[in-house]
């Protein structure tokens, strides 16, 4: 089937089998493609991409769902200012994902920063002296722990990832001149 989609901001047109998974299409598209396609079956979580804004394993997206889709891989993402926030947080904190999962974990962290932003935007204190304010304004550690399960590499702990999210979020808000 013929597929037209956008990958990393550029229009892309290919002919592929309807059931061909996106990770294989991406691998064939680019030699420098950073996804580590090791498992091909939703186990490793090293093939994450943004698919219409949602961070998903590309091995779970068949070609027939790609028509009109907007796909962002790590290669496209690393050219954005958003990546710079996370990179700074890695440098400041002194830890970062290992080489194997770097691309996917960074995209996963970006998706969690977006979630944190949504939580903060929709937060409205019901009580000024609310003791739960901190909890309600943040992603719970249980939530983070659960979400990062999608990437099986254990090079960073949930609390390290939480620290990266908080710091990169802070940089982003400062950069855009918004209050926390």
């Amino acid at each position: 089937m013929k597929i037209n989609c956008t990958i990393d901001g550029s229009p892309y047109s290919i002919i592929a089998n309807a059931d061909k998974p996106l990770n294989i299409i991406l691998q064939e598209k680019s030699d420098t493609y950073l996804i580590n396609n090791s498992c091909l079956s939703a186990e490793c979580g090293n093939c994450l991409i943004f698919f219409n804004g949602i961070c998903l394993p590309s091995c779970l997206i068949p070609a027939f769902k790609l028509n009109g889709a907007i796909i962002q891989t790590f290669e496209g993402y690393r050219k954005t200012r958003f990546y710079h926030d996370i990179e700074r947080a890695y440098a400041e904190l002194g830890y970062k994902p290992c080489k194997q999962c770097y691309a996917s974990k960074t995209l996963l962290i970006e998706s969690l920063i977006n979630k944190l932003d949504k939580v903060r935007l929709t937060y409205s204190p019901s009580n000024i002296n609310d003791n739960n304010e901190d909890e309600e304004k943040n992603l719970s550690s249980e939530f983070i722990h659960n979400e990062i399960k999608i990437n099986k590499c254990k090079c960073l702990s949930a609390s390290q990832i939480d620290n990266i999210i908080q710091l990169a979020y802070l940089y982003r808000r400062r950069r855009s001149g918004k209050k926390l």
Partner: protein
């Protein structure tokens, strides 16, 4: 000579009538909803089965959500994440918590109700959750001459090994969940269904209380490759007066072990042990809450 791999045709019907006419013309075909199970099977691509695909994600009837005083209905192509988002008010905290324990939000945004319930030879947590909530599934069986529509209980969809029983082209169209007392449920999801076949256990317990008695109770224990519900066992618990004594709890644990071992399900010792401990925790917790006046 190398076998030619399949280049499937993909059908994207917009209505159930279109699904029926595609099925009439094409017998060698399979349903595709979220694709998380289909695409996570080892060596899923390239495919040599020569089958075409019907994508159910665009079928309008399967995307409906209906809230009434007595039921909430979800179309089969609704994702588990959407079920969570739109069921916040009606399903209750415990059920929402159970749904949230299924994988991650990314996978839940792809996984559909139909896919989770109809995977041919593997059970997922959703079947256990819906089973104890007394949900019903609407299925349509397409045979040569006509389409048969049935509403059936969730446990009736499966055999003891957890295999989906309906082999003819059968489509699950929607589920109907009665609104119950949302506090009286316990759900546990231990393990990883795709990898830990012999240790994963799903546990569901739903009950109602009238005065000092457990009035009705539904228990479901399952794993990726077994599905266990037992009306006798449910009835024994349903006639119990609270609070439970230490001996009563022990007897119930023994009874559960006995019922499991006399059934023909294939369950590992670890899974039995986990099931018994989860029941122990649940019964103890209900008793303690009863004593502290929570159910008054």
């Amino acid at each position: 000579m190398a076998k030619n791999f399949n280049n499937p045709s993909i059908y994207t019907p917009k209505t159930l009538n279109e699904v029926v006419s595609i099925l009439k013309d094409n017998k060698n075909i399979y349903f595709f909803s979220g694709g998380t199970y289909i695409l996570s099977k080892k060596n899923n691509y390239p495919d040599f089965s020569n089958k075409d695909i019907i994508y159910l994600g665009d079928v309008a009837e399967l995307l409906k959500i209906n809230h009434s005083d007595k039921f909430t209905e979800f179309g089969a192509s609704i994702s588990i994440q959407k079920m969570i988002n739109s069921g916040m008010q009606t399903l209750g905290k415990n059920t929402i918590g159970a749904l949230e324990s299924i994988s991650t939000s990314q996978i839940r945004s792809l996984s559909t109700i139909g896919g989770a319930l109809c995977t041919p030879n593997k059970r997922f947590f959703l079947s256990t959750i819906l089973s104890v909530l007394q949900a019903q599934a609407e299925i349509r069986i397409f045979n040569k001459k006509r389409t048969i529509i049935k509403f059936i209980d969730i446990p009736s969809l499966y055999d003891e090994n957890g295999f989906f029983k309906y082999t003819e082209p059968t489509i699950l169209t929607k589920i109907k969940i009665p609104i119950t007392h949302t506090k009286n449920q316990y759900f546990f999801n231990l393990g990883s269904p795709l990898k830990e076949l012999e240790s994963t256990v799903y546990f569901g317990f739903n009950f109602s209380i009238s005065q000092n008695n457990i009035d009705t109770c539904h228990v479901c224990i399952s794993g990726p490759e077994f599905f266990f519900t037992n009306t006798d066992f449910d009835n024994v618990i349903s006639s119990i007066t609270l609070p439970l004594t230490y001996n009563q709890i022990n007897n119930l644990l023994h009874l559960l072990k006995e019922k499991i071992s006399t059934s023909s399900i294939k369950i590992s010792n670890l899974q039995i042990e986990r099931a018994v401990r989860l029941l122990h925790f649940t019964l103890k917790d209900i008793s303690e809450r009863f004593v502290s006046g929570e159910y008054a």
